[in-house]
Symmetry: C2
Subunit: 243 residues, 2 copies
DNA sequence: AGAATAGTGTCTGTAAGACAATATGAA
DNA sequence: TTCATATTGTCTTACAGACACTATTCT
């Protein structure tokens, strides 16, 4: 049997009769399981995502089929690596599964949407992959991918002040100003610098490293790090987002 | 081809060689897609869920296979109806999809977990279905269902004061005391009656009907209703839960 | 009258927005 | 010295917990 990879991604645009599948008990079964990944970061002060150009020249989310030897998280990481060159996202979480049997013209293919985060300096290797800034609004994507992107943005904004989810984007050590830029890009609003620092410290999700750095001009800034590299929930700050 | 229903649910306990499936393009495909539903309500002041007894006499969540003619929400409603007699849950939302290919001994079967809510007076018709109170802790369930239940409880607690999710459990019109009992059962803590009323009103998710009812003894109580029957997000109250 | 339930009013500590004032380092 | 950035401090409003007090209706 040929590798499943052969029918993933690049053949998506192909038309023709849909595929079918049947299991050994004689019942109709899905043709496959797919994943789509919303890979976000904050670049040059703007929330940005990775898109790939498919065979129809549409901009779509990176994704592809799940193999029978891996779970969906592994498939998401694998397709990111193959299609965008991103080795391992710092954060990966499930968003929603789309199950309408007619959602994919190739046949009955449930699709799992994922949210992934990487640091800003992440470079892409695939020729078809590109960073797209969200500062000018949400771009129109192929298939149902615009809707998936909206879900991803709701999710990361919803978690911003209630978890350490920004650990997926910020470097290991960062200044308050750096953190604020990332939070502002995600939230879509500006925060007062002093209030921001007070409230982020108040979450107890970050701790000072006792080191200082010069950024450009002006006073040197204290460095902070997240207490945990894994996703954890904090006390929660009821701070404005997207106002 | 026989109805897919024949291989759902009751045959789950059967051992033997796993099923396999292949699609018309010659690739391995999932054997099927399943759903499992955490159906919750508040009965006699206790958060309760519906369980069914499977062929191995294990207590498990109601669920079964998704057909190629329906999406997963429809499958969840259908299996609830068939296995528990619950006609249509007042609320149904996706929790998480489990995709480990080895999670089901019958073969490669991704499973979607759902949270469903019904009013307390909902009676069950299936002989194998029962209401289980959660007041004495979380019961041990078969398969990975205990973990799914934990996710469901986290979800409903997380949304309690940020959405009108209780609309799935409370009757169309209710007193503040009734609402408080439901919120307390979900949150797992007690609320001060006057503070509760003040804060629930403050969400603007409920409105008074201008009617009053006698409950048993004491002063008559004002009736309220949720402004929307669909799930909506409120301003959000930063109230304690599960303390 | 007394008990039981519903509802109002008030006090207090904390949270979060706004912004003034000070500290530190480079040009 | 002057500018730019970082950090501390203050003021104010709103929120949420606690709880005293009033209102209504039944036995």
């Amino acid at each position: 049997m040929p590798a499943q990879k052969a029918h993933s991604g690049s053949s998506r645009a192909r038309r023709g009769p849909p595929w079918t599948a049947e299991n050994s008990a004689g019942f109709i079964s899905p043709v496959g399981v797919a994943i789509d990944v919303v890979l976000l970061s904050v670049r040059d002060g703007a929330l940005s995502l990775v898109l790939v150009r498919d065979d129809d020249d549409q901009l779509v989310l990176p994704g592809g089929f799940v193999l029978d030897t891996e779970d969906a998280e592994a498939a998401a990481s694998r397709h990111l690596r193959e299609k965008t060159g991103v080795e391992a996202p710092r954060h990966l979480e499930q968003l929603k599964t789309f199950t309408d049997p007619s959602r994919d013209h190739r046949g009955w293919i449930p699709s799992l949407a994922y949210l992934a985060l990487v640091p800003p300096e992440t470079d892409l290797s695939g020729e078809r992959a590109l960073w797209q800034s969200l500062s000018d609004g949400v771009p129109k994507l192929g298939y149902d991918h615009t809707g998936i992107l909206e879900i991803a943005l709701d999710r990361i904004r919803g978690k911003l002040w209630w978890s350490n989810i920004a650990v997926g984007i910020l470097p290991g050590e960062f200044t308050m100003t750096r953190a604020r830029e990332v939070y502002e890009a995600i939230a879509g609003i500006k925060y007062d610098p002093s209030t921001f620092a007070r409230d982020l410290n108040h979450t107890a999700l970050v701790e000072p490293t006792r080191e200082h750095v010069m950024t450009s001009r002006g006073r040197s800034a204290a460095l902070y790090r997240f207490v945990s590299d894994d996703l954890v929930w904090g006390e929660g700050r009821r701070k404005r987002v997207r106002g």
